[in-house]
Symmetry: C2
Subunit: 155 residues, 2 copies
């Protein structure tokens, strides 16, 4: 993209896409260096902050698809970062719990992602970074990427 047309430069949709592509690339590199993935962080962070939950609840919390959640929990359970047990109160459900090793991994991923965020936002002032985050939060709140029918929200 040596010479970007003025029309394209002014398109927020286009610029968001480009910036997100850059972010994705950096995150994928950083996470795979730790044998992990973007979604590992999302899931572990959700479990730490809101406690154990069924897979269905986790899909609602994280926005990760139900279908991908299965493979994700498989993987994190293999790695010993979460525990998956049948829910005694509702035998359709699994209860997913973060382990001690999982909390440690979460801290590692958090550090790595923090550094990546700093790298990505390097051209911005601290004040601008904060503004950017607030603006993105507003945008996502109004135009959510997935509008699922929010079903049962018990943990």
């Amino acid at each position: 993209m040596d010479s970007v047309p003025a029309q394209v430069k002014a398109m927020p949709t286009f610029l968001l896409n480009q910036a997100a592509l850059s972010a994705q690339r950096l995150v994928a590199e950083g996470m795979s260096a730790l044998g992990a993935h973007r979604t590992h962080f999302s899931l572990l962070a959700s479990l730490e902050e809101f406690g154990p939950a069924s897979q269905a609840t986790l899909t609602r919390r994280t926005g990760i698809d139900r279908s991908d959640m299965v493979a994700l929990v498989n993987r994190l359970a293999e790695d010993g970062f979460v525990q998956r047990e049948p829910d005694p109160e509702d035998r359709r459900r699994n209860v997913v719990t973060i382990t001690r090793a999982g909390r440690q991994q979460l801290r590692r991923l958090d550090r790595a992602l923090g550094a990546i965020g700093d790298e990505l936002l390097a051209p911005l002032t601290p004040r601008q970074r904060e503004e950017l985050l607030q603006m993105l939060i507003k945008i996502v709140a109004v135009s959510p990427p997935s509008a699922q029918p929010s079903g049962d929200e018990r943990s």
Copy 2:
């Protein structure tokens, strides 16, 4: 994503991705309603602003991959929005030129994308929208999504 962990909320990489997903969805809807695609706009805008060019040059200008460029030019030529002719000065090349119908289509796509951009940035003030664009431009400039070796930049 009913309850987003604070850690995730503060991750610019995550938020950018979410916002870009929303944007992608809106753009895909809007473009397909016109029988078009995001890349149609990029290519037509580049041709209008910088004039006829070889496919290789167009990949550099737009960031669209050489492989996808073939199908894109096929499609736009079928639709009568561009003309593809062998370059008499360099027989390896095709010269791609925008047609009158192509300019009309470009204006249609531009209007649609403008409306979509407004919808996406609705929660922001005009001042904030401008700031957001400037910040995204800086981010993309510093961390470009693709770092191709920039070869011959003749048109």
